[in-house]
Amino acid sequence: MATKRLLPLSLRLPKPSSLISRKYHTPSQPSPSPFPALETAILTSSLPHIPEHGFTPTTLRLGAHAQGYIPASQNLFPQGAFALVHFHLWRQREALKSCVVVKDAGKGVGVGRKVKELTWERLLGNREVIHRWQEALALTPLPSNLPTALQELHALSDEIWYLAGDTSVDTSWYTKRATLSTIYAATELFMTTDKSSDFKDTSQFLDRRFEDSRVLGEMVGSVGEWVGYNARAGLNVLRSRGVRI
């Protein structure tokens, strides 16, 4: 430990590639990619093959082939086809940063509106692969994949609230993210079966879910207020009777 502290800072800091996840966010440094350079290259050239071959090892092999690798190189991805799913999730999440709502058009827009816009933007990120997305959803609940998938979902809702300009530091930090994760996951599943033009049905579905959460939030708030009021009243009644509380 002591010798480690004597090393120059550049040696003490872990290399970007070895950083799978960072426990904090800073706008001054981009978050490190969970994929090393070689894997990124192969996965990037795999993406165009997804609409045809889906989230399968075949797609990975075609991507590897484009980079001059042989079918045996699929061993680069111990988690197999799930690497494609993870890469897609990560890339689409990163793409939100350059979204119009965040950049300039979002000056006078409220946080809630921005969250809605960003969620819709992210859902449209699945447009090209939506007919294959159920394959990806089938891969995610595997015990070996589930932690990564849940982390990605949390990271997404966290990213959306952050980009929308939410700065809450109370318990609503958790409820906001949990609610948005639920809404997103439900809408994404709905979208896989949506046959309407421009995903109109999905858009309406999303609106209804946000409305639900608003109503539910109000309800929870009102119930909380009622319980709090009665508790305080009850306490005061007891006090007026001489109970020392």
Binding site: E39, T58, L62, Y69, I70, A72, N75, L76
Partner: protein, 346 residues
């Protein structure tokens, strides 16, 4: 009674372990020298370890040969004892995966899944998934099979499974394998066993008597998959063998190694050590009448570099290591290490 016979063995092994601490560093430093200037030291000056003993490099090869000549026939029984029988699980358990993960090419869809040999349910082989190919654009072009090389594969155990998997799961009848071993008696055991498989006398299976540190008969960049299962810890010069693996592999080719490794849970580790040092040499003595060979096998497992260290050795040979670089099996009793030879960009 039993504990009285085991205790001196345990004490002795512990003593030897302490005793050989210094030579261990010695052998390490010679390794570094050899990497920088391979021709400066003559072979008889250089030492390596044979179990817990330190021996001259030239001597190790002969002594390892001795061990394996002795245990060739009882080799599988010995693997049973060494891994508490779990090596069968590593081999037979099919990891849980949805059907389209183990996708089958169109041309073999007519065949029923049950026709696949149950022996192909091998975790090591399945994780490598040999025999896969790109989807063919025209039916006339036959996809190229994998060229595989199974080092230290004497008894053919892994090699037959690799071929089975390539043939039945990935419909690649053009995949071939070469079984290489330094030991003629292990190799002839493999030849004997191959007669009971469908690959006997077929051009898909060949045998090669060679030292893994010098595969001069294998051309450079010619192999898709290089496997070594429970063999690399017996090599005299492991970095040299890794460099040789790097040479023979095609760019993008895979180095895959299944080997006993460091148990990660300290409690399990203590129990496993007690079992391996206390019981296995004894069993070797009782079952095969050969204590020394089994003592060596146990010690060589203890001496083999642990996961991180071996991963770094693979990296040093030039390989790209996927993910964290290894997969622990049963808490680290064994581990699968992989490396991919990167494609040089022009």
């Amino acid at each position: 009674m039993a504990s009285r016979t085991l205790r001196p063995l345990l004490n002795r092994s512990r003593f030897q372990c302490l005793h050989t601490q210094t030579p261990r560093y010695l052998s390490k430093s010679t390794k570094h020298h050899s990497a920088e200037a391979p021709n400066q030291s003559t072979p008889h000056e250089r030492t390596t370890h044979f179990g817990f003993e330190t021996v001259a490099e030239a001597e190790k090869e002969a002594r390892v040969a001795g061990v394996f000549s002795n245990v060739a026939e009882s080799y599988d029984a010995m693997n049973d004892f060494m891994s508490l029988g779990i090596h069968r699980l590593w081999k037979y358990i099919f990891p849980f995966s949805p059907p389209f993960l183990t996708e089958r090419p169109k041309e073999c869809e007519g065949r029923s899944r049950t026709k696949a040999n149950p022996q192909t349910r091998d975790h090591f082989v399945h994780s490598i998934n040999p025999g896969t190919s790109l989807p063919t654009t025209s039916p006339s072009t036959e996809p190229q099979g994998w060229k595989m090389l199974d080092i230290a594969g004497g008894t053919g155990d892994i090699a037959f499974r690799l071929l089975d998997h390539a043939t039945h799961i990935n419909a690649s009848p053009s995949s071939t394998i070469t079984i290489s071993d330094i030991n003629p008696s292990m190799l002839s055991e493999g030849r004997k066993r191959s007669l009971s498989t469908s690959y006997a006398h077929s051009p898909r299976l060949s045998f090669l008597l060679a030292n893994a540190e010098n595969l001069h008969t294998v051309p450079s960049s010619s192999i898709d998959l290089y496997t070594v299962a429970f063999g690399i810890r017996n090599f005299t010069d492991k970095p040299k063998a890794l460099r040789e693996a790097y040479r023979v592999l095609k760019p993008g080719g895979v180095f895959a190694c299944l080997e006993f490794s460091g148990v990660t849970n300290p409690l399990l580790d203590a129990m496993y050590k007690r079992w391996s040092f206390g019981a296995i040499p004894l069993i070797g003595q009782l079952v095969a009448g050969d204590r020394a060979s089994y003592q060596y096998l146990v010690e060589s497992i203890e001496r083999f570099p642990k996961q991180e260290e071996f991963r770094d050795m693979i990296k040093e040979a030039g390989f790209h290591v996927p993910g964290k670089g290894w997969e622990d099996l049963t808490g680290g009793i064994a581990a699968i290490h992989k490396g991919i030879k990167p494609v040089e960009k022009a």
